[in-house]
Symmetry: C2
Subunit: 414 residues, 2 copies
């Protein structure tokens, strides 16, 4: 009972951490072709309008709209063909009254033209002349210069993450080099005397380091650069040295505790002594993930987040998504965070949860006749293959006491 009164829910714990941190995104210049998923540090202004000239949106004849007024199949207008607009060039002629020019989709309107008549509404009569079988309005079938973007317009704000569409937009404006947030360095330390590197043969009592690698992959996925400091033994001096080195060299530090109580205590102590103000939160009302440690440690450069994760691999990934990813996003300077992609599914069974506690339950997504079904994957102690068998998590919010079978839920993809 007391525990639920003292443990903070995840969002409050996160707010407590964030109010202590300082963010100063560093930047680097890269080629736009290498910009996928990077984050702009400067707003981008259009150096010229787009399109940069009036373009036809159809194949047909560029003309003066006034010359077509009143024309129809029965009373066509007759126009003289002044020339053909070659793609990629400015027409070397201009149109006078009762004249037109052959033009293709994307072609530049000659001076004097203010509309384009689609090919299918015209008819060739004799060489150099065409019948126009209907009327067009000024501007019809024309994309005006600046209609997509006007000169000087801000097309992207600082903090925009680049998807394929943004890379296309930059190229359209001739922006082939960009300044982006440097990938934040995320120091990752594993601890626990029972933990050995993955390439080791296991002696009885030993387990391989999993968290250094799942967390590296998550950091990479989010746009950071993992720096692994390896596995530190349960010895305070060595632990402290590794943590201090990581704090100096990196922008954010993650330490996964070994599974024993003594290692967890050691981790908390080392983190608290790293810098002021030290540990802010020790224990969060979250399952899995209760033994989370959130700390802010001042360095000469700035106040950095140090996050202590439970040693259990499932807990570590859940806690990393709730606390590490948002810090990384702030370090990247990301703005306008969009909703996380998810899949809607119907829960296959009832899930109970304690009021006040936030639960993350690994689920598989299975097709069913009525859409997708979310099937909880239960694994004693949340072993790593519990997660490898899951497609994502169903989140039971703190104010719910569970979810019912058949309920529509959102699955956060792994």
């Amino acid at each position: 009972m007391t525990e639920f009164l003292t443990l903070l829910p995840p969002l409050k714990a996160r707010a407590k951490l964030f109010e202590q941190l300082t963010f100063l995104p560093a930047s680097e210049e890269i080629e736009t072709t290498r910009g996928l998923n990077r984050v702009l540090v400067d707003p981008i202004l259009a150096a010229h309008p787009l399109p940069s000239f009036p373009r036809s949106t159809v194949d047909g004849y560029a003309l003066r709209a006034a010359d077509t007024y009143g024309s129809s199949e029965s009373i066509p207008a007759y126009l003289t063909i002044a020339g053909e607009v070659r793609m990629g060039t400015a027409p070397n002629f201009s149109l006078s009254a009762a004249h037109c020019a052959l033009i293709y989709t994307g072609g530049m309107l000659p001076a004097g033209a203010d509309a384009v008549m689609m090919m299918e509404h015209t008819q060739a009569v004799r060489d150099g002349e065409v019948e126009v079988l209907r009327s067009v309005a000024i501007g019809e079938n024309v994309l005006q210069s600046g209609e997509d973007v006007s000169e000087g317009q801000q097309v992207f704000s600082a903090g925009t993450r680049l998807r394929p569409a943004e890379i296309g937009g930059l190229m359209a404006l001739g922006v082939t080099r960009i300044r982006v947030a440097r990938k934040p360095l995320v120091g990752i330390i594993s601890s626990g005397d029972e933990v050995v590197p993955p390439e080791s043969d296991l002696n009885p009592g030993q387990v391989r380091d999993i968290n250094s690698y799942t967390l590296s992959a998550l950091v990479e996925q989010t746009g950071g650069q993992p720096v692994r400091y390896g596995i530190v033994p349960d010895e305070i001096e060595i632990f402290r040295n590794a943590a201090n080195r990581a704090l100096t060299e990196c922008d954010l530090i993650i330490i996964t505790a070994g599974s024993s109580a003594s290692t967890r205590d050691l981790t908390a102590r080392v983190i608290d002594e790293l810098g002021e103000p030290g540990v802010l939160v020790h224990g969060v009302n979250l399952r899995p993930g209760k033994p989370t440690i959130l700390a802010a440690c001042a360095t000469q450069a700035r106040v950095k987040a140090v996050i202590g994760l439970p040693g259990n691999p499932v807990s570590a990934l859940v806690v990393a998504r709730i606390f590490v990813v948002p810090v990384l996003e702030r370090l990247l300077g990301l703005e306008n965070l969009k909703p996380e992609p998810q899949v809607q599914a119907r829960l296959s069974i009832n899930l109970a949860s304690q009021a006040g506690r936030e639960d993350w339950v690994p689920v598989r997504i299975l097709p069913s006749p009525t859409g997708f079904q979310a099937d909880p994957v239960f694994g004693k102690s949340n072993l790593i293959f519990t997660l490898a068998r899951a497609d994502g998590f169903v989140r039971i919010p703190p104010d719910a006491t569970g979810l019912s079978a058949g309920e529509q839920v959102e699955v956060l993809l792994l």
Copy 2:
């Protein structure tokens, strides 16, 4: 009318392409640490069980369950402490009756022990002896060897894409090198006399190449390796040479047509002559994306897909998602394709669509008091910044004649 009878809907067009293609995924060996988003080509079997030894799931005392039967706060059992299990080592002692050993979460059970009593249900009496205040069942607070994975069990099938959790699973088993699908090479050719490289200053009538770069980014995102062949002029010999080179060197070829009718015809002709059977589909009942060309061209190695995309950048990206991405996924050997991540939102306005035609409408996602709202981004002629302003697409299926304002829709994220 006739058009809608002759144009195939996207799924049928795709099926027609797929039945002609042959897929032979090539592979390479990499370090597991570099495996994020790569696809396994071989199933992975567990070389040993996981956990590899019986582990305690709590801090407490390892003991024989039988020694605790009948014990309670009022009638405790007294056990002699035989030793302490050091983390990461096999205990160098075994337990006889009425004995126990101090053990931490993750510690290895000594021989003779079959359960663990949590610390909080014990009480120290004098040196070397402990009071046990309740009873435990055999196996309580113990993770048995093989409980997560048994020896020889297949943990991942071929065709699994690696997320952070899978990388963790591989590390847990000591699999530090893996064989993955080589990134399929995707040749990208742009055409159109009006198209110039992005680094060029624009002369009147010219536009910069956008599609080569949006498509490269999409290919990269999906797990392929883009190979850009640049912009070919509207000249059949040069065009044919570039297409032949791409067909020989790459696993999949994308050609974006210029916007004029003549370039589109040239593109179709070049593609059809590349190899047998040639063009299978010319025109799809899709908006945007009607002028799509789907072809299968035999080479000495195998039958490869050649996909002709409309020159319009929005159309090109939509068509690439519908046709290029699935071919790439097959080339990667991906199995068990999961539903695409999407965001649920309410449509802000009515959207009309022709029956029989599939429409993809770019939308922005905006927060609203009742959840997210999907706001269509209308842009004349689907210019690139229409997309850059959008968060994703709402798909209107062929059997619908539109969607109504307030309707719940799925937004496929860009």
